[in-house]
Amino acid sequence: MTSSSGTSRVTPLPLCADAHETPAAVIEQLSGVLIGKHHTVKLAFACLIARGHLLIEDVPGVGKTTLARALGVSLGLDWTRVQFTNDLLPADILGVSVFDRDSASFHFRPGPVFTSILLADEVNRAPPKAQSALLEAMEERQVSIDGETHALPDSFFVVATQNPTEQLGAFPLPESQLDRFLVGITIGLPDAATECELLEHGDRRATLDTLEPCTSPEQLKRWSEQAESVHVDSKLIHYIQALLAATRDDGRYGHGLSPRAGLALLRLCRTWAWLDGRDHLLPEDVQAVFPAVAGHRLTGSVASGQEAAADVLARVSCP
């Protein structure tokens, strides 16, 4: 582990007995940490339940780390932070096989990736080789080193942050890699009132230490299964298809959204409807999550992509 990538491990707190084990309670708790960002928090949580990875594009200091930590604590998961730099090597993320002189054999020292929530900070600062090591782990949910395959935790979840790509010294993620992130969001600055409140009550990181888990990984898995059973009307299937087609037809957005993105969109839509306590999907759900799913895939940048996604939504007639 090089000095440039600071990692830290947090042991999950024991599950408190009186936790309200409802998704609403989780969102409530998260919103308490990241004030005034209800939609963003909900998206991040939905992304996790839909078993997808999250990409946050924003400048430093808006609470990316806070969000990731809060997620980990609230869900009772352990988390690791990796600062991506331009000298980062794949082994720094995945781990290395070291020679043990005592047993005269190699043995594997797992890297920071072996965790439930991995916060990959400034992922576009690392060279493509390190990026692809992470992204492969994201897709396969396993790590192969020296011919040995090491499975990652069942609830492996990556929160990657990237700086606005126009900055110097960045390696923008290629389109195929962006496609592996289910959701791309920006957190954005708090509004004036929220910021005042923030200033008044001091740093929220202190409150993080007092957070208690609201749920367990097992519960999370059950929620995932429940969300999968949300009913989707055929009109909405057609609507989602029309949205995908609209991103492809005029060539403004490269090749548009892939079928994988379509599946991811549907999964997230279902989770969104389930989070609202419904057993069926509505067009509003699709419209609420579409920019988050399509944004980073369409233009490579979350901010400009969300405008493109809004444009697509305004062009396709809604059922």
Partner: protein, 704 residues
């Protein structure tokens, strides 16, 4: 195109003065290749039917210019083409072509030279095409060129050839409208085809009711159109030439009975003057008055459709008992009858003429006039024949006996009936009678009439047609049925004698095909009395006949007959205009889709939807009607919330509807009671909306 531009630019620098002063260079880049190819297709299709009648050089020049222009577009590197296709060169070319046409036709102001000149002018204009606006002129010229082909032929084939050209015209219009974004040719042609079908009812209506004039508005100097059919004189070989043509001379429809084959003598030009070789009509003839006995027994009534032959005579079964009457309501005689029994019209038969005719078939013609001196003149150039005539007169006592003796002589060998007799010299009758002894009907008729004159019996030659083939309910008489026979003045009347009957009796009974050997050069049609090919030919002629009767012959007469059949008076022009306009408007309205029509489409579309969707669409329509319509891409709940903000009084109702519909449409439940409740709340909403004044019409921004 960039390459073209560069090439042109370079040349402009080199010879700057030339294009600037003379504007010689056609800027091939200025016209879209798609326009060019669409126009080329149109012009070639419009030119195609003219190839038949134009001189070969005109066809080649016209087609070649189009080819050159297309080549210049495809191969801009061929520099010499620019000069050939320059305005100046083409103007000069047109002048030369005008002179050539003048030389070829002998005159310039007339229909045929004008058509030939238009043919080449269109191609020259195309070769010089520079601007898109020229394309409009070119398309108009092409349409007119397309029309001029009907001067020469109005058959089914001519009509069929026009259709692709009309499609090409539509395609060219579409391409010229927007050459870049125009649809591909196939879909354009489909569209134009559909449009032609849409316009067809109007076209048919106009064709039927448009008033026809009976005469021309003006006439150009008479065109030297070739006459066809029988001519105004007869010399050895002239009928034989005609017999090689299978062209239709006229068609006949009989009112009831059809005369037997041996009585189908169709009387045409009658010749009394003989110069020793050829026969021609008497210079002065008088108009005869017919002793009309219309109801005499054996009278045959029939209608003749005479093909234009550009001569004055008309045909009737020998012998005519009435004048040819026009077939329309206002029965008027189209011709007069001469003392020699011939029907003569005032104007040449330049278009298909339809007339009613009466005849009593018979071989004697009674006319008051005694035969003139011309009918006795032997011309003195055939001494041997004259001697024969005198001998016959001396040895027989009655004219019938003299005639019978000569016919007896003909019926014996070595007299032969053939289409290809040996050529005859200065005494054709002598040579035929005593040397060659082979000939066609005119040889026999000519020799018979001359010998009879030598024997002191006044005689004359009659030409016309013998025979005719029934095809369904009508008879076709072809040029190959042309015939010549004789009439002798016996007992104060002209008696028909057909010497051909002596040498080839089957000619009269079974037609020319039966009378001639297989090696004779007869048109195949005259021989095909059976077999599938003959059947096909006859069927084709039947189609042509129907086409002729229903389309080509649809003139003022036919129109008048139609009004008669419909039992209405001939409508005035304003009435016709009103009818056409009304029907056209009705038709267009029907096609546009009357409110009922679109309503019906919407209705059937909605019937297929589930009930919840139908109710939802009703709600959408209701609010759209009140200028509260849903934006595209606006989610249902967002829309209803927006409406609720605009019309706060509706907020509660809309909220309930929003909830209800979300459940009905997306939750996959099928709850009829809830649906009924929704429908009634739509009704309630309608009432509320009616009471609410319409919100100010402001543009509401679409959802971001």
């Amino acid at each position: 195109m960039t390459a073209v531009g560069v090439a042109l630019g370079k040349s402009t620098r080199k010879k700057r003065w030339v294009p600037q002063v003379l504007n010689l260079r056609p800027s091939t880049a200025a016209v879209e290749p798609r326009i060019l190819s669409a126009l080329a297709a149109l012009l070639l299709l419009a030119q195609l039917p003219h190839v038949v009648h134009l001189p070969l050089w005109a066809t080649l020049l016209g087609g070649g210019l189009i080819g050159l222009r297309v080549l210049a577009c495809k191969r801009p590197d061929i520099r010499s083409l620019d000069w050939v296709l320059s305005s100046i060169a083409l103007t000069g070319f047109c002048v030369i072509v005008a002179l050539l046409i003048r030389w070829h036709y002998g005159y310039f102001v007339g229909r045929d030279p004008a058509v030939a000149f238009l043919f080449i002018l269109v191609a020259a204009k195309f070769a010089e095409l520079r601007r898109g606006s020229d394309a409009t002129l070119l398309m108009c010229l092409a349409s007119f060129l397309l029309l001029t082909q009907y001067f020469y032929s109005q058959t089914i084939v001519a009509a069929a050839v026009t259709l692709p050209a009309v499609l090409a015209l539509g395609h060219a219009l579409a391409v010229v409208r927007d050459p870049v974004r125009a649809a591909p040719a196939a879909s354009n042609l489909t569209l134009v085809g559909a449009m032609l079908l849409q316009g067809a009812p109007i076209a048919i209506l106009l064709f039927i009711v448009f008033p026809r004039l009976s005469g021309p508005l003006w006439s150009l100097p008479e065109d030297s159109m070739a006459t066809s059919g029988l001519s105004d004189s007869m010399s050895p070989g002239s009928i034989a030439d005609l017999s090689r043509s299978s062209e239709v001379a006229f068609r006949v429809e009989f009112d009831n009975e059809v005369p037997p084959k041996d009585l189908r003598y169709w009387r045409g030009p009658v010749f009394e003057r003989f110069d020793g070789r050829s026969w021609s009509a008497a210079p002065i003839r008088e108009v005869a008055t017919l002793a009309v006995d219309a109801n005499a027994t054996g009278t045959i009534n029939y209608t003749v459709m005479l093909q234009p032959h550009r001569q004055h005579w008309m045909f009737a079964l020998d012998r005519a008992t009435g004048l040819p009457m026009s077939s329309s309501g206002d029965a008027k005689a189209l011709a007069r009858i001469m003392t020699d029994g011939q029907l003569i019209s005032d104007a040449p038969i330049n278009r298909i003429t339809r007339y009613l005719q009466q005849s009593i078939p018979g071989d004697r013609v009674h006319t008051g006039a005694a035969p003139g001196p011309l009918t006795r003149n032997t011309a003195g150039r055939n001494p041997r024949a004259e001697v024969l005539g005198q001998q016959l007169a001396a040895t027989h006592d009655s004219p019938e006996a003299i005639a019978a003796a000569l016919l007896q002589r003909f019926s014996q060998a070595p007299f032969r009936y053939t289409l290809q007799p040996s050529l005859l010299g200065i005494s054709p009758v002598d040579e035929f009678l005593f040397d060659t002894r082979e000939g066609f009907c005119e040889h026999y008729a000519s020799a018979f009439a001359m010998v009879m004159r030598a024997a002191g019996i006044p005689s004359r030659v009659v030409t016309g047609y013998l025979g005719g083939e029934m095809n369904g309910d009508y008879m076709i008489v072809r040029q190959s049925d042309a015939h010549a026979w004789t009439e002798l003045w016996i007992d104060g009347a002209w008696q028909r004698f057909d010497p051909t009957g002596a040498i080839a009796p089957s000619r009269i009974e079974d037609g020319i095909g039966a009378a001639l050997g297989a090696d004779e050069p007869l048109p195949s049609l005259s021989r095909l009395t059976g077999g599938w090919m003959g059947g096909m030919q006859l069927r084709w002629d039947r189609m042509n006949h129907a086409w002729q009767r229903m389309v080509v012959d649809f003139d003022d007469d036919a129109q008048a007959r139609l009004w008669e059949k419909l039992g209405i008076k001939k409508p005035a022009l304003w009435q016709l205009t009103a009818v056409v306009l009304a029907v056209s408007c009705a038709w267009v309205a029907l096609l546009i889709g009357l409110p009922g029509f679109t309503w019906w489409k919407q209705y059937t579309h909605e019937r297929r939807l589930p009930p919840a969707e139908r109710a939802w669409q009703r709600l959408e329509r209701l609010l759209a009607h009140h200028a509260l319509g849903r934006h595209i891409g606006e989610a249902p709940a967002d829309w209803l919330q927006r409406v609720a903000r605009q019309q706060p009084v509706l907020a509660d109702q809309l909220h309930a509807l929003s909830q209800g519909f979300a459940r009905q449409r997306f939750a996959g439940v099928d709850d009829e009671a809830a649906l009924g409740a929704l429908e009634s709340s739509i009704g309630a909403l309608r009432k509320t909306l009616r009471r609410t004044p319409r919100g100010k019409t402001t543009s509401v921004p679409a959802p971001a």
